[in-house]
């Protein structure tokens, strides 16, 4: 039987002692999970190891930990794989981040994860009186939200959210993915109110920094960041919500900037993101940015002429692409979680010119 070494971070806040690492030798087959290893160490060597777990099959979401620095379910990682990833062959197991440690590998999910989950009103708010029997929905109208429904509330994405690391009030990836579960549900009657709430909150959808950590962390393929981008897209395009955080303005300033210039002209983007050079919101922002602008000019990063005149202009072909795509009646969104990837040796027989009608349209419950 192969042997593995688990290095587990130990900490009991009430003991008054500092956190420390304990090594445990375990003998289990490589295809057994890290959780099996932790439980063997607990069973045979130290019954006081704190770990929360239940199903052992990556369904209940209880055993979220960091393995070799990366968040995962302890039951979802084989020992041999974890050992290969470990820099010196020692499998390092520590509690998840962004949440206080209760004991050893157990973090306080109530203090962070569940609190944020409640923040997004995670239940259906239908309009009007309920039907006499069940709500009837077309199955295809629910396909889109199956991705967020796959969430098992393990907290792996919360653990490594880089925005939350500097802004603990950020609503965060798990809760915002849950918010999309209702914004994308045709039975819900409060889409706009939900979106306005999340867009206006300074720690809401526009606080996500696009770092992909939650996509990488999720053991279930929920891709929380992609759901946040959908919330932004629907808030902006379908509801025209002009939020106080400049999220709407930044998106529109960026898109217009490229449509006009082809390449990004940063000197316009900054003021335009605040509503334009002469907008009351932009003036104080530009004044505080003055030292940065002056430094850039002083170092020759930018020339005054370069900042005011942008010689690159979008070609008519680029402008046409913007026009063609914006003129479509519906936005197209290809979600690979839903449609999957084609097999290489099995090309689809679908004819090219039939493609348009076969495309999965972005589900837009408000249209």
């Amino acid at each position: 039987m192969p042997e593995y070494t688990l290095r587990i971070r130990r900490y009991s806040p009430e003991s008054g002692e500092a956190a420390h690492w304990d090594d445990f030798e375990i003998d289990l087959d490589g295809h057994r999970s890290v959780l099996d290893g932790i439980l063997q160490a607990k069973d045979r060597q130290d019954g006081s190891i704190g770990i929360r777990c239940s199903c052992r099959a990556a369904i209940c979401g209880s055993c979220g930990v960091r393995i070799n620095g990366k968040p995962n379910l302890a039951c979802h990682m084989h020992l041999d794989k974890a050992c290969e990833d470990a820099p010196d062959g020692v499998i390092v197991v520590e509690p998840m981040g962004n949440m206080p440690v209760l004991k050893d590998l157990i973090v306080d999910m109530d203090a962070v994860h569940w609190k944020k989950m409640r923040r997004v009103t995670p239940w259906l708010l239908p309009d009007g009186d309920p039907p006499e029997r069940e709500y009837i929905v077309a199955p295809e109208s629910m396909i889109d939200i199956t991705q967020t429904m796959a969430c098992i509330q393990c907290g792996a994405c919360v653990s490594d959210c880089l925005s939350m690391e500097v802004d603990p009030l950020f609503i965060g990836p798990a809760a915002l993915a849950k918010a999309y579960r209702f914004v994308g549900d045709p039975r819900d009657g409060q889409h706009e109110e939900r979106l306005r709430d999340l867009a206006e909150d300074p720690h809401g959808i526009y606080d996500c920094t696009h770092c992909f950590n939650c996509i990488e962390a999720c053991p279930k393929g929920v891709a929380p960041m992609s759901q946040i981008m959908r919330l932004r897209r629907i808030a902006s395009a379908d509801h025209g919500i002009e939020d106080r955080n400049n999220g709407y303005r930044h998106e529109h300033a960026f898109v217009k900037n490229i449509e006009k210039n082809g390449l990004l002209h940063e000197a316009d983007l900054l003021p335009d993101s605040y509503g334009g050079k002469f907008h009351p919101r932009a003036v104080p922002e530009l004044v505080t940015s003055l030292p940065v602008i002056l430094r850039a000019l002083q170092r020759g990063k930018v020339t005054p002429a370069g900042a005011l005149l942008h010689k690159h202009k979008a070609s008519k072909e680029v402008k046409r692409i913007f026009r063609d795509v914006h003129d479509r009646e519906e936005r197209y969104e290809l979600n690979l979680y839903v449609v999957g990837e084609e097999e290489d040796d099995n090309p689809p027989s679908m004819h090219a010119d039939a493609a348009g009608s076969q495309l999965p349209a972005e589900r837009s419950p408000n249209q």
């Binding site: 925005s163 802004d167 990488e216 490229i258 002209h265 605040y274 084609e342 493609a355």
Partner: protein
Amino acid sequence: MKVAYWPGCVSRGFAPELHGAMARVAPLFDIELVELDRAACCGAGVIAEHNQELADTLNARTFALAQQEIAKGADLMMNICSTCQGAQSECQERLDANTPYRDHVNETLSAEGLTYEKGITNKHFLWLLVEEIGLDEVRRRVKRPLKDLRVGPFYGCYIVRPTDRLGIDRSHPRDTYLHQLIDALGGTVVDYAGQYKCCGFPIITMNKEASLKQAGRHVGDAIDAEADCLVTPCPLCHLNLDLQQPAAAAAVGRPLNMPVLHLPQLLGLAMGLEPKELGMNKHVVKPSSVIDWSTSVVAGAPA
């Protein structure tokens, strides 16, 4: 080697020293840059957030233009911006995965006589150095080893996540390439907490405090690990780490003053180019520690 070269926007906008340094370094490795000057912005994730099909079509157009150069003899498409790499890889993943979708996007491009064929190779300069040129070759061409220079790699996000989309696996450990390159150039790699974290740039107009705190924290961590400078493959990270560094220092309440180099600048130094030729005078944080180091090495070298 000839490459269809996509410099991106920022390397010709607020970080012009990056494009300049790349042009200086390329001939030293016999890389011929054929610039894709008709292509448009990759969207940096913002256009995809606005309208996925729009971002996919703009990038399919860039790929199609690159494929025209590849047909004329270029080996592959190369970029020098992590954000371009990440945003373009995301679009390519969708375009390559679904034939009807690709056909639909190509229909929009057809008015211009362009078509994107599935499966373009689009590599960041960092990947090209390691995978196409090879670090042994890089090592052989070093003129001025970065001896005693302690360099902190700053990967950022777009070039390392998600790992499957970016082709990171055991045979392509692309999330270690900066480490390997610093080592090949004779420098000392400094590991620190923020090397794979986000610079905060994408939310600078939406939540300035959180944005600057991220930049400030990572630079501070690198100082605590006693790095002399940072190197990044991403010009957008450079904006937050260098251009905004004085503001980031105020946000985290500690002095920072950490030089941040673009990847081709670090390479150029080791190849014997002078800091000024590489545009290092254009940085907001003067790279004094790096320049002092290079002059002392130059002064100490036998005549």
